[in-house]
Symmetry: C2
């Protein structure tokens, strides 16, 4: 079992000795980081055992990965580059060394995949379960951060990658089916180790995206956020929602609606974006040229026209009230 001081010493020991830009070693009162530009992007996200994850099915290294991925994704959703991270870590009792090593291993693995450094944090006791709060600081794209509020009426709505996999992965994990897990490994991985779209965010920022957000509360809820902030309505089409074949296969097998997974499920960490009609195709080409899938979902409308999905049957589904709210 490790003391608070030993936990911090271990984290420092596991981190690289030299981090470009970081001026203060882990363990001082605050961290310090050199930013080249004047504008710094900052985001914070918490995840709690029993609410956002359980161990198992999560391996403790997945928890470290996922906490960091949520923060990095927020920076990606502005078109920014993550620079450095702080981790506030709370255990309900003294952890053993293996537990801390594994957790921090997942943290460092995620961060090194996007050139981001762990530069500080805090360790304390929680009343129940493991709790992680991640702060990520980053730099905005050259043209400034892409906000949720920048969409204009008539802009095309697009999305990177595909939707609903994280929720489908959670479905498999909750049912504790090793058999489904073995047959749908990519879907489970999407839930345990999501990959934030840092490169795609930067590309979209440079190719005319007017608004952007990461899919963390589900496609419907996140699209509403953009519409709320941009004071718009929207119309998206069921046939355009990018659902992978294995997601459809799994849904068919277990009798679930894959569209519902995509609209209501969160944590896909894909990017939802808007671009003017004259620039949308260029934006998607820009993604595809870098090996990233991207497609059209629909179009923004005036606020008075509401927020709808046109089903393949032609029926309209109102997007209000669909999606995840922690307290709703």
């Amino acid at each position: 079992m490790l003391s608070e001081t030993e936990i911090i010493a271990l984290i420092r020991d596991m981190s690289p000795d030299y981090v470009p830009g970081a001026e203060v070693p882990i363990g001082d009162d605050a961290a310090a980081f050199h930013f080249t530009g004047g504008l710094v992007l900052l985001t914070t996200d918490s995840i709690f055992e029993g609410v956002h994850f359980n161990v198992p099915p999560f391996h403790i290294s997945d928890v470290g990965w996922k906490a960091m991925a949520a923060g990095v994704s927020d920076i990606a959703a502005m078109g920014g580059e993550p620079s450095c991270a702080l981790l506030s870590l709370a255990f309900s009792g003294p952890p053993d060394e293996g537990e801390v090593r594994s957790l921090i291993g997942g943290v460092l693995e995620m961060l090194s995949s996007c050139n981001c450094a762990l530069i500080g944090g805090d360790v304390c006791r929680s009343p129940k379960g493991l709790a992680l709060t991640v702060t990520i600081a980053g730099t905005p794209p050259p043209g400034g951060p892409v906000l949720r509020s920048g969409a204009k009426e008539g802009d095309i709505i697009g999305i990177t990658g595909s939707a609903g996999e994280s929720t489908a992965g959670l479905y498999i994990l909750q049912r504790k089916s090793d058999e489904l897990r073995a047959r749908y490994p990519r879907v489970v991985e999407a839930h345990l180790r999501p990959r934030p779209r840092v490169k795609a965010g930067a590309l979209l920022a440079s190719c005319g995206a007017t608004a952007m957000e990461d899919v963390s509360d589900g496609l419907a809820a996140d699209l509403r956020h953009i519409c709320d902030e941009s004071r718009l309505g929207c119309e998206i089409e069921e046939r355009l929602v990018p659902l992978e074949d294995d997601l459809r296969a799994l849904a068919g097998e277990v009798g679930e609606d894959p569209l519902n997974w995509a609209l209501s499920g969160g944590e896909d960490y894909e990017l939802l974006f808007t671009a003017p009609p004259g620039r949308f195709d260029e934006a998607v080409r820009c993604l595809v040229d870098h090996g990233i899938q991207g497609c059209r979902l629909g179009v923004t409308r005036s606020a008075g026209e509401g927020r709808f999905l046109v089903k393949e049957s032609g029926e309209l589904l109102n997007l209000e009230g669909v999606g995840y709210d922690h307290f709703a």
Copy 2:
């Protein structure tokens, strides 16, 4: 009862419309802040209901205050100025509007007392009780941040203000004594609404402080941190530890040792600092000229000489193992 979206809308509503330096309104994926220099100080701290506070005796606005004060104090302990704050807020169930208003009221009150702005954050559900994680970003003093590692052998050790009050305040609150609370209001206030030493930190940084740390784990533990990072020993004197008259009176009345409160109790948020013998008096004068108490505690020694307090009886008290560790 408020939904997640309503909580965020309320926080945005309670915050000032215009914040100099902040470029993105509360509620987007990440916040963005303009820093004039290249180096940014960053710190994060979590507090949990049931571990760090209970409501009552804390009023919920005190919780907001105290969470922010802990982060601001970390920046002060580098000699820095806090610039902006993020708050990750977790409730075990949907909060009512009055609760959120009161909590955020305490947050904004603390922040406005040190010209710091709330610019972003996160709202989610916790498995048990209220949890707050605060991130503060700030600017370093002109000569660079004052680290724990900068003390040299023979430097004089000093402290701002007085020690032990926060723990004495906790003692009164835990005993639920309205009578003691009425007679020792300043002591209780020190626990509920600590005032970080932002001005003192900046002054000390400009007046030759070689190492600095805020007293959050108790004088003994925090002094050990400076000694560990600077690879030194130390000798402090009991007769020099600044104990207020009302702290001594309370301790006498309830049969507790006030020195123990000072050495082992945390959360005073005073600054512990070192300065070369030739500059120490100037540093204290610098504080006193600005109405801030400051005094000498002892001196740093070589690492081999250990860490001791000389009691008034002449007896030596080993400072190893004294103080707060979340898991020890």
